[in-house]
Amino acid sequence: MINFQNLYNYIFNIFGSVYSIFSIVIKSPISDISEKLGPNDLPYKIPIHPNLVHLTIGLFAIGIAFDIAGAFYPFEKRIFRFLAFPVTRVGFHDVGWYNVLAASFITFFTVASGFFEMLLAVPIPGVKSILGQGAITTMIIHAVGGIALLLVIIGMTIWRGYLRFKIRKDYGRQVSWSYLTLGALTLLVMGLHGSLGAWLASDFGVHITADQLLINGGNLTEVLQ
């Protein structure tokens, strides 16, 4: 009888040794620029991706929020009149459209910079996030999720454009309820996705100078003055 455990170990050992040979022969392209990288594993001091993320999340979330406000405008009308704050339904839907449009423009750069900085990421080994995932799992989910969210944002922007200029052109309420529902769901997913990204920094110490120095035993006071 074949012992499957032994067979598995045998195959795994072959692949393991092949892999270790490759890792000697094929040098990672990152090692070519490793001397140009600072203690945070980046060629510059502050990562770009987390800054562009502000714009993606802020513009998309507030865009959806203003479309929701535009959809419920008949209920809010009296409140705004009571506050002597003149607003129009068209104005709310304008914000909904232009903010989502701007979000889909900027998100290409957010994803691009995210992938560049993920190539150079050196997470702290042996750490688990609150959900019990390791660094590489978190990074892969965050990367694939980022692409998926980019697609969703682009798709929703195109949909929003059709609603605005074609489908609901002559309606007061410029968005369909399905658009708002999907928008709210996207925001929930975005919140979880953003938390994964935040843990990559706060728990796994990716691209944080002080964390990397502490883990590698560098001199903090020297680098940080």
Binding site: P50, D94, N99, T209, A210
Partner: protein, 184 residues
């Protein structure tokens, strides 16, 4: 009886510290009473809306689309509301951040500009409200200058906040650990 009352009052006052401590849940490994930092989340809306408003103003002027001025006005209102929430959480989390070395000075600058930015944003939104009352289709030329100042202030503030997180790692697990062990 007076003595009893006074001593009771004294014991109440000395207990205030304990009461305030008990208002927040116990601190975690990031030295926070909640799972993650909240200030950077709220700040999404200040940064995106303020910079978005500036961009929409310029696009509106260049491409002659006056309805973009309304978009940037409403975005400014959101930014103004959000910055006060950001300051509340920013103050709590700054108080728990245990800054060390140069990060103390940076945190001071960040707080000063943050509070100032709340005032600046409020004034800009108020000014915008007044000028919008007369004609929402027209943006006064002076606002171009104000927009540039606002963008510069916001970018400076973002850079300072970035330094606190990405260089000094405040509220990240290794730094909090090092502070608790007395290394930093």
């Amino acid at each position: 009886m007076i003595h009893a009352t006074l001593s009771y009052m004294f014991s109440v006052i000395s207990d205030v510290d304990l009461i305030i401590l008990n208002l927040l849940p116990p601190l975690n490994e990031k030295n926070l009473p909640w799972i993650d930092v909240i200030h950077p989340i709220v700040v999404h809306f200040v940064i995106a809306m303020a910079l978005g408003a500036v961009v929409f103003d310029f696009v509106g002027i260049i491409f002659k689309k006056p309805n973009l001025f309304e978009v940037s006005f409403l975005n400014l209102i959101v930014a103004t509301i959000a910055i006060f929430i950001a300051i509340v959480f920013g103050q709590i989390e700054a108080g728990l951040s245990n800054p060390y070395g140069v990060s103390r000075d940076i945190l001071n600058y960040h707080s000063t500009i943050g509070w100032s930015l709340a005032g600046v944003l409020s004034v800009i939104s108020g000014w915008r409200y007044v000028s919008r009352q007369t004609n929402p289709q027209v943006l006064s030329k002076g606002f171009v200058f104000v927009d540039i100042v606002l963008a510069v202030l916001v970018c400076t503030q973002v850079y300072l906040g970035d330094m606190l997180v990405w260089i000094y790692g405040l509220h990240t697990v290794p730094v909090v650990e090092a502070v608790r062990e007395g290394i930093l």
